[in-house]
Every structure is written in structure tokens, then in C-alpha cells.
């Protein structure tokens, strides 16, 4: 990293007190995001990817949650800001869009009103100017006849159109960072591609840095500059898109890549899956959290591996295996059909 990053998360830990004990949802995550960059955060449900970014926005107001660590945005620690100060950043500096566009908009207000509300909260402009801005934004996100649609209610839009409205709303104050929490999970595949294309286009137009949270490697494959893979509340591998797709270091990443149906390879008889379930966040194992599901486990795995730059060039991974050994092993994990064919 040359300049100071736009957003820097340092050793963020989030835990929730529950009746059964303390759930460590995020166990020490560090991230950086530079201006205009797109960071993909990949992981399965419960891996802590959403909780991490919700904590950055300070949107978790569960009285049972406790937070540790620092979140530096333009040199200010967001975790230490007062409610009023963080409100000034939400929506203006850092905006967020959510998974389910069907429920993310308030059903009783016109979409234009909802966009104007945000604009007028952060900027001193007249109602008419805010309304004009709303129409402009709706046009930018590709809603036809935005001048009329601005007065419609959310239930008069389809899912894809609602997500476009959400994007328009998120970009209404030209934020530095857009956090997209599984923006396409609830949409049809054809609409998914449109929404991702839209995010890419607007990101370039507005110069916004994007954090894209997803469980779908396909989504980050053509959007993210860098990718962080999360497992059981920690980042287990992080690198450029190239690093992750062409030189993955962690057996969990291999598993994820291996479970993608690919058109450019012989069709496997059965799509590979990672055996087992992620560990309970109540009782995380002492050693590597992925150990129980990993096919390449050995003695050292009883100690927790640190996230280290073993490959070089900022490609971090948390696995004890030796690099040379990994490159050999992973071929069999990512492409099991190759073994099947050989036998």
C-alpha cells in the first residue's frame, strides 16, 4: 500500500452474549480498502462477513454485542465516534445496500421520498433539488421513466428494480465507500448480472470504493480487485483476484473453487462439496478452524495458523502447509474429476 488506505479495519472482534455462552462472530479481522478499489469478501453463512461490515457501519445495536479493535476511516476511528458523528458518516461517507431488496425499502413511502430523505439529511438542499437529484439517480441506475417512477411505492417495483432503487439511494450522497451485502443473492440469475454490471459501471462513474460481500465466488470473479476469504469469523486467505483464482493457498478456498460448476472443464459426475459443517462459533477449536473438514490435516494444525504473507506480494493465507506441497495437493482438491478419470 502506498498512500494511506481509505478504510482500515484493525483486528476487529465481535462477540455476542447468548444463553449458551459467548459467540465469537468475528475473531480478529484486519482489512484495508483503498480509494476506488473493489474488495470482495467471500465466505459461507455465518462466517462473519456481514457482521464485520455491519460493525464498520456500527449498525449492530444488539445490547448483547461487544466490539474490540479499530476501524479507521479517513484517520478517524469509527468505533469511538458518538452516535451523532457516526450518523454523519453513514449514508454520506459509507453507504450500504442489503441482500433482500423486497424488504429493504419502507413499504409506506414513495421511493423518491426515501432517496430525498437521505439527501436532505446530509446536504442542505431544497426539496425540489433533492427531488431532481432522486430522478437523476434513478435514471443513472437504469430505471425507465424515472420522472414518473419516482412517485411510485416500493411494491410497484420488481425485485431487480428495487435493488436499483437501493443502489440509487446508496449513491445519493456520493459516498467514498459502498458496502454491498450480498446484493444479488435474492435476485434471478439474469438480474444478478445486470445489477453487478450496474455496480461496476457506477463505481467507475462515481469513483466509489466497493466492498462486495458474497458467498458466490462467481460474483466477485469479475468485479473484485482483491478478495478476502472468511471462515468461522476470520480471514483465512486474502489476495488479488488473480491470487485467489489462479494460486489459491488455503484448502478451504480450494474447496470453494472446486464446488463451482465449470463449463471449461470436463463435466464431473458429481459436483464437489466441502464435507462437514463449519464449527460452532460457541466452541471454536484450538487449532485451525477448518481442520476438522480439511483433507490435508497434519500435526501442526492443532495450533492456530496465523495469516501470513508466505507467497509474497501481499497474498496472505492462514495454513500451515508448505507452499510447494500445497500447489501439488490443490489440483486434486479443486478438480477431483481429474482423479476420477485417472482411476
Amino acid at each position: 500500500m502506498t498512500a494511506e488506505p481509505l478504510l482500515e479495519v484493525r483486528d476487529l472482534k465481535v462477540s455476542f452474549r447468548t444463553d449458551d455462552g459467548i459467540v465469537r462472530a468475528v475473531g480478529g479481522v484486519s482489512l484495508t480498502l483503498s480509494e476506488g478499489e473493489t474488495l470482495g469478501i467471500v465466505g459461507e453463512s455465518g462466517s462473519g462477513k456481514s457482521v464485520t461490515m455491519m460493525s464498520v457501519m456500527r449498525l449492530i445495536n444488539d445490547p448483547n454485542a461487544s466490539f474490540e479493535g479499530e476501524v479507521l476511516y479517513k484517520g478517524r476511528d469509527l468505533m469511538k465516534l458518538s452516535q451523532d458523528q457516526i450518523r454523519g458518516i453513514r449514508g454520506a461517507g459509507i453507504a450500504m445496500i442489503f441482500q433482500d431488496p423486497m424488504t429493504s425499502l419502507n413499504p409506506v413511502y414513495r421511493v423518491g421520498w426515501q432517496i430525498e430523505e437521505q439527501v436532505r439529511e446530509h446536504e442542505k438542499i431544497s426539496k425540489q433539488a433533492a427531488h431532481a437529484r432522486a430522478i437523476e439517480l434513478l435514471t443513472a441506475v437504469g430505471i425507465p421513466q424515472a420522472g414518473d417512477r419516482v412517485n411510485d411505492y416500493p411494491h410497484q417495483f420488481s425485485g431487480g428494480m428495487r435493488q436499483r432503487v437501493m443502489i440509487a439511494m446508496a449513491l445519493s450522497c456520493s459516498p467514498d465507500i459502498l458496502i454491498a451485502d450480498e446484493p444479488t443473492t435474492a435476485l434471478d440469475v439474469t438480474i444478478q448480472a445486470q445489477i453487478l454490471g450496474l455496480i461496476r459501471k457506477l463505481k467507475d462513474e462515481f469513483g466509489t470504493a466497493v466492498v462486495l460481500i458474497t458467498h458466490d465466488l462467481g460474483v466477485v470473479a469479475d468485479l473484485a480487485d482483491r478478495i478476502a476469504v472468511m471462515y468461522a469469523g476470520r480471514i483465512i486467505e486474502q489476495g488479488t483476484r488473480r491470487d485467489i483464482f489462479y494460486d489459491p493457498q488455503h484448502p478451504y478456498t480450494w474447496g470453494l473453487l472446486g464446488s463451482i460448476a465449470r463449463l471449461d472443464r470436463p463435466k464431473p459426475r458429481r459436483l464437489a462439496a466441502i464435507p462437514g459443517l463449519p464449527p460452532s462459533l460457541l466452541h471454536l477449536p484450538e487449532g485451525c478452524a477448518f481442520g476438522a473438514r480439511c483433507g490435508h490435516r497434519f500435526a501442526l494444525c492443532d495450533q492456530r495458523p496465523d495469516l501470513l504473507d508466505k507467497v509474497g506480494g501481499g497474498h496472505l493465507d492462514a495454513c500451515h502447509l508448505d507452499i510447494g506441497q500445497k500447489r501439488e495437493l490443490r489440483e486434486t482438491t479443486i478438480h477431483p474429476e481429474l482423479i476420477e478419470e485417472a482411476t
Partner: protein
């Protein structure tokens, strides 16, 4: 009999010879409407305040405390609260500065003396609305807390708007839907004669009081007239509530 109620309007009471019941019901209506409207304003305002306060103070001791007070309000019978209020304001404490302003029991028409009308109704209003403040406050609190977890409330927070605005503009608006439907039912029932106990205790000669007298005397024509009057208001208020729904929730507006 229907003809005598609706067309010739000359149905005569069995027990009070010569009294025309339709006119008698009309004459009693202003008293009931005054009582119920005033109580309704009081209970809507107070219940919203209680509901919001309890939802905001969740996690502190004040939330359960408020809810217990509300439960007491729901549980206390109107006739008992009314009698105690009378006992204090008309009897033991009437001579003290606290209640010296209270006029004797009964209803003074607004047109006769607005001041007496108001003074005479203050205690009945409070008595009648207690039950509803408690009940509606509890319902509203539960609804607000439920809506607070909705995705669109999270979106509203992510927009950077103040907690206060999130609560008043986003959570409360959708929470009011249940509130309005309950209000329609209760308000209609009260206007239709459901405020009977309050009217009797405070000597307000409204429709409830009339119904009570008619029932005591088995005065069938009066019972008929008050019943039809009640049915009319229940239908009317429900129609108004339906319009209220459409105002609150655009999803049910016709397109």
C-alpha cells in the same frame, strides 16, 4: 316497528308514555360523542406516548415499570375507578384546592357553557381512557419492537438519519396499522353505547345511559332504537378506519 323508526319516526316508548324514542336517542347523542371523542383523543395521544417511551426505554427498568402500570390500567374496572374518582372529587377531597373546580355530576351541553362542559367531562374522559391507554400502549410497544428489526428500519439507519426520525417516520408509521384497526373497533363500540358504565357512574345522560335505562325497564322500542343507532356507528367508523388504512399503507390503495 322499522317503519316507525326510519320513516315516520314516531315510535313511542313503552315505559315513558309519550316519549318518542328516535328523538330521545338523537338528544342523547351529543353527550356520548363528547365523552367518547374526548376520551379517544386522550387515549390515542397517551397510548402513543406510552408505547414509544416503553420501546425507547427498553432494557432499562422503566420499560417493565411502564408496562406494569399499563397492565393496572387495563385491569382496573371502569365502574370502580369512576366511583373512586367521584368519591374523591365530589366527596372527601372536594373542598381542597385539588378538586374544588369539579362541577356536580352530570352533563352540560357545550352550547350552554363550554367551560362547564369541559370541566364536567375531564374526570370521565380520564376514567374511560385509562383502560385503552394501557392496552394500546402495550400493543404499540410490541409492534414498534417488532418493526425495529425489519430490514427497512436497518436501511433507514444506514442512511444516517437520526434514531428519533427512524422511530417516528419509519417504525411508528408501520406500527400504527394494528393500532388503527383496534381503534376503529373500540371507538365504534364506545360511540355505539359501550361507554354505558362510564355514563352511568358519572350521570352523563348519553346513549349508553339510555340503553341501560331501557334494559332495566324492558323498554323494547328504546332498545331497538339504540341498537340500530349502534349498528350505524359501527359501520360508519369501520368505513372511516378502512380509509385510514389506505392512508397509512399504500399497498392497499386501489390503483
Amino acid at each position: 316497528m322499522m317503519k316507525k323508526i326510519f320513516i315516520t319516526r314516531d315510535l313511542v316508548s313503552y315505559s315513558n308514555q309519550g316519549v318518542r324514542v328516535v328523538q330521545e336517542v338523537f338528544a342523547a347523542t351529543p353527550a356520548t360523542l363528547s365523552l367518547v371523542f374526548g376520551a379517544a383523543v386522550l387515549w390515542v395521544v397517551m397510548a402513543i406516548a406510552v408505547g414509544i417511551a416503553a420501546a425507547l426505554l427498553r432494557g432499562t427498568v422503566f420499560d417493565p415499570l411502564l408496562m406494569v402500570v399499563a397492565l393496572v390500567g387495563v385491569s382496573a374496572p371502569v365502574f370502580w375507578v369512576g366511583q373512586i374518582a367521584n368519591l374523591l372529587s365530589q366527596g372527601t377531597l372536594h373542598s381542597t384546592f385539588l378538586f374544588s373546580w369539579v362541577p356536580p355530576l352530570g352533563y352540560t351541553p357545550f352550547t350552554q357553557s363550554p367551560e362547564l362542559w369541559f370541566k364536567g367531562l375531564v374526570i370521565p374522559w380520564i376514567t374511560l381512557s385509562l383502560l385503552y391507554i394501557g392496552f394500546y400502549g402495550r400493543v404499540l410497544r410490541a409492534n414498534i419492537l417488532e418493526v425495529q428489526n425489519e430490514d427497512y428500519v436497518r436501511t433507514a439507519r444506514a442512511k444516517g438519519i437520526s434514531e428519533r426520525r427512524v422511530l417516528l417516520r419509519h417504525s411508528l408509521r408501520t406500527s400504527m396499522i394494528t393500532f388503527v384497526s383496534l381503534f376503529g373497533l373500540d371507538f365504534a363500540a364506545l360511540v355505539a353505547g359501550g361507554a354505558l358504565l362510564t355514563e352511568v357512574v358519572f350521570g352523563i345522560h348519553g346513549v349508553g345511559y339510555l340503553t341501560w335505562q331501557a334494559l332495566e325497564n324492558l323498554d323494547l322500542p328504546t332498545i331497538m332504537a339504540t341498537t340500530i343507532y349502534g349498528a350505524f356507528f359501527i359501520v360508519l367508523v369501520n368505513a372511516i378506519v378502512d380509509i385510514g388504512y389506505a392512508w397509512l399503507d399504500p399497498r392497499i390503495r386501489p390503483t
